[in-house]
Amino acid sequence: MAPPISNAHLAMAIFIGAELMLFTGLMGAHVFLRYGGSEWPPAGQPRLAVAATAANSVALLLSALTMRGAWAGFRSGSRRRLRRNLALTAGLGAVFLALQGREWLRLVAHGLSLGSAYGSTFAALIGLHGLHVLGAVAWLLLVLWKSARWRYSARRHVEAELCAMYWMFVCGLWILLFGLVYLG
């Protein structure tokens, strides 16, 4: 009898756990500096755009829904559904990245100092998450390209499922980070 969880899925879960611990270390530093200081954000540093980022978060959360649709596509073997949902997911991820990039440029233009505790924790947490989203979008595009070349079927789609797991992690992590950095 085959194991209920394949080695690849288990390895991805452990990898995601390790990634979560990496972010936990950074979140711990942020919490320490945020609540250990008297004034946050420090004087002279720009405020974060909560409303614009909340709207941007909706794009990322919508991409989790479209990824769920793609997941259903892998399992049923429906290539059209898979490709449509993967393309939508990658598009929403790209929108998220573009809006985050614009927000970064605005903050830097308003004098965000990456040398300060405020700026460095923001850059470490949000920047590292952005790099993860960028990597996940690249992986999604690879999966999309492979699905266009008929590389997956209802029986063979492990790589696509791993990509979906990673994407769900990136989306779930953003909820934590948004709550901590923007609303905390």
């Binding site: 009898m1 969880i5 919490v31 320490f32 945020r34 609540y35 290539r79 209802a154």
Partner: protein
């Protein structure tokens, strides 16, 4: 193998030895933190406490989450085994699913 065993025994001995030391001796390595934590009104204390809670809770959440997922998957597979002869399609090893491929032409 014997080397690894010696290493583990040595590590356990060191941990036991350090746990037998008095709190004053252990706290010497972190004198600044100790002084800061002794003043409860200091916002630094709140920062340290929240940070410690977050970093202590997360490993339990990660290990518990992955462990719970594995246990649930095995339980589900075990409960389905007499009827379908295998695990749920989404979690089984590649090439073991039983669902048919309904490939749509573009």
């Amino acid at each position: 193998m014997r080397r690894i065993g010696r290493f583990i025994v040595g590590l356990a001995g060191a941990a036991l030895g350090s746990s037998l030391s008095s709190p004053e001796v252990l706290a010497q390595g972190c004198a600044m933190c100790r002084m800061a934590v002794q003043s409860p009104d200091d916002p630094l204390v709140k920062g340290i406490n929240l940070s410690v809670v977050l970093m202590v809770a997360m490993p339990f959440a990660v290990v518990g989450g992955i462990g719970g997922w594995v246990v649930m998957a095995y339980r589900r597979a075990h409960s389905r085994a007499p009827f379908s002869g295998g695990a749920s399609p989404g979690l089984s090893a590649p090439g073991t699913e039983t669902s048919a491929t309904t490939e749509e032409q573009p």
